[in-house]
Amino acid sequence: MQTMRKPARVYWVTPAVSAAIGFVYLIGFTIGGHPLDGLAGLGVMLLFGAGLAIAGRRSETVRGLLDRRDERITGIDLRATAFTAVVLIVAILAGFVVSVARGQSDKPYALLGAIGGLAYVGAVIWFRVRT
């Protein structure tokens, strides 16, 4: 893990991505004929990004998550992300089983499970080759 100084702009990546996702919401809802919902989505994501940036000024943990300078906090982020993935996998499996048990379509659970499985295998191969 790195402890070297990283450019300050790294700090703004997550808030910027939040804003970008908000604009994608706006485009999607506008195409779907609901521009006001898109504006609401954009507002939520802008507030979320701004909230993160402000919280990073006060909280060492949030700052570490944003600027990626602290190896311990980066490790915590990695483990938290893995835990989140496990929760999502369990939710997808449960949704799949409940759905097919009710005689309903396996979508979207089967598709989400397939995407997750392929992403995992791809990531293992990628990191196996690179490290």
Binding site: T3, M4, R63, D70, E71, R72, I73
Partner: protein, 61 residues
């Protein structure tokens, strides 16, 4: 590590700033809840003008 830091009159926040990590990380290392990576362990040892083996006890990592 805590002994060397306090001997140098440094606070956890000051050492954290020097090493470009959070104060929480310094505290976690000193209390044995976190084992630093090799690059950070080397950076800490160099900061104190010592070696990794002298700063960290591998038997209690």
């Amino acid at each position: 590590m805590r002994e060397r830091r306090t001997a140098g009159g440094l606070s956890q926040a000051e050492l954290a700033q020097q090493l470009e990590v959070s104060r929480q990380t310094i505290n976690s290392i000193e209390t044995g809840r976190y084992t630093p990576s090799l690059p950070l362990a080397i950076a800490i040892a160099r900061f104190f003008g010592s070696t990794v083996e002298e700063i960290f006890d591998a038997d209690h990592a």
